[in-house]
Amino acid sequence: MQSIGGPIGKWLLTIVYGREMDIETVKERAGPREFSAKDDMPEEYRKAATRMIQFHANSEIMGAYLERPFIRQAPSLERKLAFSAKTQDELGHGQLLYRAAESLGIKTRDEMLDELANGEGKFLNCFHYPMESWVETPMIAFFVDGAAMRRQATLKNTSWEPYAHAMDKVCFEEGFHVKHGEAILHELMTGSKKEQEMTQEAFEKWWPRIIQFFGPTDKQSTHHGFASEVGLKQMSNDELRRAFLNSYVPKAEKYGLEIPDTPRITKNDDGTYEVNEDDLDWDEFFQIAKNEYEPGVGQIDGRKKAQEAVAWVRESMDKHEQGIYGGGESPQAAD
């Protein structure tokens, strides 16, 4: 970090922390908001954190990209306002998260956005499936956002402080998103018979994808172990999935949605729910995880085209910036 640079800053850091923190120390110290840009974190930590935060940031952007057609297609003026505001918030979350990822010193935001455009950047499974109709919007805006919110709430205690700070603001805003989605679902399920049927159909299409949001069981997940040992990740996929089902199965039923027969979901004696994971299409899930699922590729490419079409504006602004601040890293006095 610039502000503690210079010989004195370096000297202080060496006194306090030694040079690069070793993994064992990281694991010992890994509490909430424990590490920040002034800590000389080992590359393994910085890479793992970058992977996780970049995924999160990419998901915000691709979720917004998925929902953007419904700003236009919203069936009332106030819903249109809400959809625009929600999409705006998501870009805002992307902004916070890319900055938190940048602060790890592995990749710049431009590099991460280029990776997203090139199909190398990974993001949530649900945002690979395009939406055709308004009745699908609460599947994202209520169920997926509700699921995301649960995960995000735990990330306020992640060990990378800039990530936790981003989560403070993200979680603050997210309540609007979920309730906006819930309001749309409520409106559809108390609307005409046709609307109710269309919504049920959309629910059946999206339900397995929503459950897969939390990924495979922890024994199949490759990155989970390290990320939780160093305090980046706070709850396991299994815990999060169970918590989601416990709260959203009753909600879906309350609004009159019928839970599809597959995947099979069983209710335990203590009232909690368990999903039979063998009923889910993991081939498709892992195809998506590699950015190879055809409709998702269309989403990625569509966004790429849009990003490239305005490259000239960024270049022009870069020239302008250099005219004021020169080519150096830190801004000089503007006058």
Partner: protein, 290 residues
């Protein structure tokens, strides 16, 4: 213009008064709604994340302003579906500047369009602050307060994108293409009705005067950043005969529109039609109860 006497509330207006108000309110509301609809096309497609968030905000402001104007039309017994969702596309009154599509990546079009629009908005709103129709005048202050950001945003981009030759060439293209359409912001809905709007003091400056004020503002500003405005001989102060521009075939205000408008209308009414809706959900408080 001498201060006209105040008009009564919506239920006590004469037919002529109501007709004049409706024509004005539809122009205002439709402009804001349709240009916001176009602005939202930049969401998740703007040059940077920060600019994306800003353009979204401006779109929401304009939609919010449309909402306030449509709400005043609801005083006359209309409901939102009559005003937006079920109103025939051929009845809309927005300027054609608002409806033109953006070519992919043509951020210069966005900047120039919002510059031309926001400067006009500012002048138009000032002429409504002292409106003889209190329900309209009361809403202008809040709307005007948000336009300050819009103007500053557009001007800032305008200046910066004219610094290098390549971007300035794109800006020039946008000026050439948009200028005639921007002039339709000051086109009459109908000559008689416009005269009545002025006579009744619903608006305190007439269209031609506002147009000259606007030209006086935008042309020197465009020229100062190295852009050229075709046919612009700056008028002597408010002498309309010096500004000799060709208007496009479709004016918008008189309900003639480009093909792009009808496509846009089909897109934004799609869900409403698909769902077979007859009403539009309200989620906010009535503007009178805020």
């Amino acid at each position: 213009m001498a201060a006209a006497k105040q008009l009564p509330g919506p239920q006590d207006l004469s037919d002529d008064e109501r007709e004049a108000l409706e024509a004005l309110l539809f122009s205002l509301a439709d402009d804001e709604f349709v240009i916001a609809e176009r602005y939202t096309e930049w969401q998740v497609r703007a040059p940077t994340i920060e600019s994306d968030i800003s353009v979204a905000n401006i779109a929401q402001d304009e939609l919010g302003h449309a909402r306030l104007y449509y709400d005043l039309l609801e005083d006359f017994g209309y409901e939102e579906p009559d005003l937006i969702w079920e109103r025939d596309a051929s009845e809309w009154r927005h300027s054609t500047l608002c409806e033109l599509p953006f070519d992919e990546g043509d951020w210069a079009d966005y900047v120039v369009r919002s510059f031309l629009f926001d400067e006009a908005e500012y002048i138009r709103l000032q002429a409504l602050e002292g409106s003889s129709y209190p329900r309209l005048a009361d809403r202008i202050e809040k709307i005007l307060a948000e336009e300050t950001y819009h103007r500053e945003h557009a001007r800032s981009w305008l200046e910066r994108l004219c610094e290098d030759d390549e971007s300035r060439a794109r800006m020039q293209d946008a000026v050439d293409r948009l200028m005639p359409h921007a002039l339709t912001l000051f086109a009459p809905t109908d000559e008689d009705i416009e005269a009545r709007i002025d006579d009744l003091g619903i608006r305190t400056e007439n269209l031609l005067t506002m147009r000259e004020e606007w030209l006086d503002e935008v042309v020197p500003r465009l020229e100062s950043v190295g852009l050229h405005v075709e046919e612009a001989q700056l008028p002597e102060q408010y002498d309309v005969h010096h500004a000799d521009f060709d208007l496009p075939d479709e004016l918008g205000r008189d309900q003639s529109h480009t093909d792009a408008w009808f496509d846009l209308y089909d897109e934004f009414t799609k869900s409403y039609r698909e769902l077979g809706r007859h009403e539009a959900a309200k989620i906010m408080k009535d503007p009178d109860d805020e």
